[in-house]
């Protein structure tokens, strides 16, 4: 099989753009190399990570059990800090999801071809992150077993949910987001599951991939509807993703708490979400592309583009920070100004300045092309942003609540082990789902990469043809 990556030749023209697909490839070789991660048995590293994340999931289950048995009192929450880790983790996780939909849906509409090899990966990340996110508001309800009271069903209670509250908005936004992301992901997956079925080494695999590919044949009539459906789902997912984090920001913006009640929140939250999501894509993508043998389809060009996006969204987030503090000062409102002053210099001021370092300063590394392709720098910078975005939610939520209007109601906040158990446990659960994804589902969209490969080849042939016809003319002119 003519597969594998061709090392860069020293004579390469530096003005030539970096390739999106490296090496001499054919549809067959691409299918083979992109199916290898799921056809190969799990390695030792996979098992080690699997047990590590399984342990994390156990911690998550234990922390949830304690929360259910002892109630919210097991958390560090108090009055006035009634929202703390539960909502911080919720916003953090759901923010990560946004890059997946950006890469998969918004870039489809903009016809950005490079997305082909990273979109499956980013969408899986979205689904798993939304799954974590959805658990936190539910646990924070206090009595999660009656969460279905949020659904307007005719019950003996006779009281309906209160739709002027942000809680039903959140529930609808999260469930819709999860459903639409899942459908979009699955629709893109059908042709690849069919490829996995047709190359399955064992009958058992053939059976399961055959079942989940639903009978995909690749008929021109099916592709015709598929393209319409996929494009329309992308068109629906685009406003949806912007709406989800807008609704999340309403949780804060429609409250009167100083430091929350601001019109900048929706756009600033959306930018922050995409920023953190791109950082997480980079954090996860860089370590796995080597072991999975995906260097030829996820090239330095992809890393380069993603880091540029990180820089662009980082600038938007920085602008949001600036405006937030400016609004507080310009409003002339004492409480607003006091809330922001407390955020900068109060008990948790050091977290605020750490956040400024990771979210405002670190992205500026990527003005330099040398640093954009230095994978170690990129990975640590992305990790810093992941952490920084958690800190951002902490500094939005906790200081504002701890110091609101009346000094007599001010209270310190400190988290308990259950809070940390839920945070790190959810990371374990996320990691577990992600490892299973890498093992059972083609991590790179095979049919889209093959289409991209075909388009690139055609474009190259066209270019060569033009050069051949133009060069005699030029010689004549000379």
């Amino acid at each position: 099989m003519a597969e594998g990556r061709v090392s860069e030749t020293p004579t390469r023209d530096p003005l030539e753009p970096r390739p999106l697909i490296e090496g001499a490839q054919s549809p067959e070789s691409l299918t083979g190399s992109l199916l290898r991660p799921i056809e190969r048995g799990p390695g030792r590293v996979w098992w080690a990570l699997f047990f590590l994340t399984l342990g994390g999931t156990g911690l998550f289950a234990a922390a949830i059990a304690v929360t259910l048995v002892r109630g919210i009192g097991a958390w560090g929450n108090n009055i006035p800090v009634a929202w703390a880790f539960g909502i911080i983790d919720f916003v953090w996780w759901i923010g990560f999801g946004h890059a997946g939909t950006l890469i998969s849906a918004i870039l489809v509409l903009f016809q950005q071809k490079w997305r082909a090899s990273v979109n499956r990966f980013a969408e899986a990340m979205t689904l798993f992150a939304v799954m974590q996110a959805g658990l936190f508001p539910m646990l924070h309800l206090g009595r999660p077993w009656v969460f279905y009271w949020l659904v307007p069903y005719p019950s003996t209670l006779r009281v309906w949910p209160q739709f002027k509250s942000a809680l039903p908005w959140d529930m609808l936004a999260i469930t819709t987001y999860f459903t639409v992301s899942l459908l979009f992901w699955y629709l893109g997956l059908l042709p690849d599951l069919a490829a996995a079925r047709d190359r399955a080494p064992t009958p058992r695999r053939q059976f399961w991939y055959g079942l989940f590919s639903l009978g995909w044949t690749g008929s021109a009539r099916h592709w015709h509807h598929w393209r319409t459906g996929y494009l329309l789902l992308a068109a629906l997912a685009t406003p949806l993703v912007l709406s989800v984090h807008t609704i999340v920001s309403f949780d804060f913006a429609i409250a009167q708490v100083p430091g929350w009640h601001s019109t900048i929140f929706p756009p600033y939250f959306v930018a922050g979400a995409i920023f953190s999501g791109i950082a997480l894509v980079l954090t996860l993508l860089l370590p796995v592309r080597g072991p999975l043998g995906l260097h030829h389809v996820i090239t330095d060009k992809h890393v380069d583009i993603l880091t540029k996006l990180l820089l662009a969204t980082g600038l938007m987030v920085s602008y949001g920070y600036l405006q937030e503090h400016f609004f507080a000062w310009y409003s002339g409102d004492e409480y607003e100004m006091a809330a922001y002053a407390f955020k900068r210099t109060g008990t948790w001021g050091w977290l605020f300045w750490l956040q400024m370092f990771t979210n405002v300063l670190v992205p500026h590394l990527f003005w330099f092309s040398k640093l954009r392709t230095n994978l170690v720098v990129v990975w640590f910078a992305a990790l810093a942003v992941d952490i920084g975005m958690w800190l951002e939610r902490f500094t939005i939520i906790v200081p504002s609540l701890a110091h609101d209007f009346l000094p007599r109601s001010w209270e310190h906040y400190s988290p308990t082990w259950v809070d940390f158990g839920l945070l790190f446990g959810s990371m374990g659960f996320f990691g577990l789902l992600f490892l299973l994804f890498l093992k059972f589902i083609p991590p790179v969209p095979i049919s889209e990469v093959k289409e991209l490969h075909h388009d690139l080849k055609e474009a190259l042939e066209e270019k060569e043809r033009r050069e051949r016809t133009e060069s005699p003319l030029r010689e004549k002119e000379a």
Partner: protein, 177 residues
């Protein structure tokens, strides 16, 4: 009883050329189909496929979803059991917008997916062409053209035409009812 006469080609362009030629030879467009690992640009025109009805389905479903979302909020909070919270109006239009929007997207997206399943008649894990071992390439790297006929004696001339168009791997598959 139906017969599928299939042949493999090297690229999407060859498939388009072959289908165009088969259309010129007088085959009805309903009997022709192509199978490829990724969508081939321009096949819709060759097979004269109508724009997908999904667009209409999604539009109607989206409107219905929005109406349903708004309607439920209005009826439950303003009509059936007016709930006074902080003296806000029970029929609070702006506050109903987020859920109305989400329901529009949810209805349209579900309709798109279920509509596709209905158009495809999926799930249908088995297809007569899956009997053909060489047809496995249709999802990995091969481009196939199929012609369906009702009678066995019609398959011979079709095979000859496909071979004349330089198809590799030609076969006939019988579909049992």
């Amino acid at each position: 009883m139906r017969y599928w006469v299939v042949g493999e080609f090297g690229s999407g362009d060859e498939v388009k050329k072959a289908l165009r030629r088969l259309r010129e030879l007088g085959y009805a467009k309903e009997t022709l189909d192509a199978f490829s690992p990724y969508p081939v640009e321009g096949l819709e025109e060759v097979l004269e496929l109508k724009p997908s009805p999904l667009r209409g389905f999604a539009f109607v479903a989206g409107l219905m979803g929005a109406a349903f979302g708004y309607g439920v909020q209005w009826w439950t909070n303003a009509v059936d059991w007016p709930l006074n919270v902080g003296n806000r109006p029970p029929h609070a239009g702006p506050a109903f917008v987020p859920i109305t929007f989400e329901m529009m997207v949810l209805f349209a997206a579900l309709t798109l997916f279920l509509g596709l399943m209905w158009l495809y008649r999926f799930p249908r894990p088995h297809h007569p062409l899956f009997e053909l071992e060489s047809f496995r390439t249709a999802s990995t790297g091969g481009f196939w053209v199929s012609v369906t006929t009702e009678r066995r004696e019609e398959t011979e001339p079709v095979l000859r035409h496909l071979r004349g168009l330089a198809a590799r791997n030609t076969s006939v598959v019988e579909e049992k009812e």
